[in-house]
């Protein structure tokens, strides 16, 4: 499982990397939207993208727009990870094709259950 985390905060990316080890995910990181697109070009498709909204150069909405227009990446599920104060933008992100939304700050259990849900990893559980 390959997961790309795009966030301009080193500490958030570091925390997410640690959390993802629990589900054995391969971790990729981008420091902003532009960097995220470059990582996709270089590393190829991932199974899931965790996307911050407020970032320099290319922000979360700009990244989402670019990804949803590109047939190579448009089907990758995106979880928007941002602060609660940005409700209108978050709804727009969902309307633009993001799959889920997670409020910062979050625990590893909150992040992992979102990922499990987004990727339907729990599909076999009765």
């Amino acid at each position: 499982m390959r997961i790309l985390s795009i966030d301009d905060s080193n500490s958030i990316r570091h925390a997410v990397r640690k959390m993802l080890e629990v589900i054995g995910a391969e971790f990729f990181e981008g420091t902003d939207g532009q960097d995220g697109l470059e990582v996709l070009e270089k590393e190829g498709p991932v199974d899931l993208i965790l996307l911050d909204m407020e970032m320099p150069r290319l922000d979360g909405m700009g990244f989402l727009d670019a990804v949803k227009k590109d047939p190579r990446w448009k089907d990758i599920p995106v979880i928007v990870v941002s602060s609660i104060a940005q409700k209108e933008r978050m709804i727009r992100a969902i309307q633009e094709g993001a799959k889920q939304y997670l409020t910062k700050p979050f625990t590893s259990e909150q992040l992992l259950t979102k990922i499990v849900d987004a990727l339907h990893l729990d599909g076999d559980i009765e």
Partner: protein
């Protein structure tokens, strides 16, 4: 997302009717903090819009997500010292005695990511080893249920990060039962094999779960309205064998809810022992 007084009444009514959860005035923050993510994912700009979406949901999926979000609590290994003291000195020795003659079954009714179920398995194993009968552990079957299949996926994986592993678990238990893999701690297969997990809504019939020698239903019923609590404990009485204990959260009681159980205080822990069938 902010919740108005009117919206609180609407959401409260929906949650009570569909999930059995009772929200007192003053619990507005619970709705705001636990349901905002889901409301946004459903493109709702207000809780009124979310309420309308929830009303129109015929699949039951949104209802399940709301129940899940409203009832999910923090969980950690060996939560509540008094309860685990009772487990070590009373409940598990009794189970161990029974395990000498056949299988014993325990239900962890709000299993979440598995810490409670695995805590039981670890302590049972310790007691079995201490009395020189380690193989009796194999007669223990723990059934962990939760409404969130995502949480159960994590429970089944039995992998915990550094933060989760530090919460409630001694260094000794950590090194005995877990193996470190990078920054992840992986539970050993023998303890893992003691617990089976399945998705389950406490509003449904318990018949499919079988009968139990011990039930833990902690910090779940606190959110439910009176009638649903009565119904739930009545149904638990139906699957708990006579003479066997039901354990609730430290602040929970059965007073006024069920007369099928006898409260028994051991040190600072109250166990509710199933009365003999009449």
């Amino acid at each position: 997302m902010k919740l108005s007084g009117n919206e609180f009444e609407l959401i409260k009514g929906f949650v009570e009717k569909n999930c059995g959860i009772h929200l007192e005035p003053g619990k507005e923050y619970l709705i705001e903090t636990r349901l905002t993510d889901i409301a946004i994912e459903h493109e709702c700009k207000s809780f009124f819009e979310f309420y309308q979406k929830a009303l129109g949901d015929t699949t039951g999926k949104l209802r399940n997500r709301i129940v899940d979000a409203m009832t999910t609590n923090e969980t950690y290994f060996f939560r509540d010292d008094n309860l685990w003291n009772y487990m070590r000195e009373v409940a598990l020795p009794e189970l161990l005695r029974k395990a000498a003659t056949g299988p014993v079954r325990v239900w962890s009714a709000a299993a979440s990511t598995g810490q409670e179920a695995y805590s039981i398995a670890m302590m049972f194993d310790e007691l079995a080893r201490a009395q020189g009968t380690p193989s009796l552990s194999k007669n223990l079957e723990i059934v962990g249920t939760d409404i969130s299949s995502a949480a159960l996926f994590l429970a089944i994986s039995a992998r915990y990060d550094t933060l989760a592993i530090r919460r409630g678990l001694s260094d000794e238990r950590r090194s005995r039962y877990f193996k470190e893999n990078g920054s992840v701690w992986v539970l050993n297969d023998e303890i893992k094999a003691r617990a089976k997990f399945r998705r389950f809504n406490l509003m449904d019939s318990l018949a499919a779960l079988g009968t139990f020698d011990l039930v833990l239903c902690r910090y779940v019923a606190i959110y439910f309205q009176e009638n649903f609590k009565k119904d739930l404990f009545q149904r638990i009485a139906g699957v708990l064998k006579p003479g066997c204990p039901l354990l609730l959260g430290a602040t929970e009681t059965l007073r006024g809810l069920s007369d099928e159980f006898e409260p028994t205080v051991y040190k600072n822990c109250t166990a509710f022992v199933r009365k003999p069938s009449r």
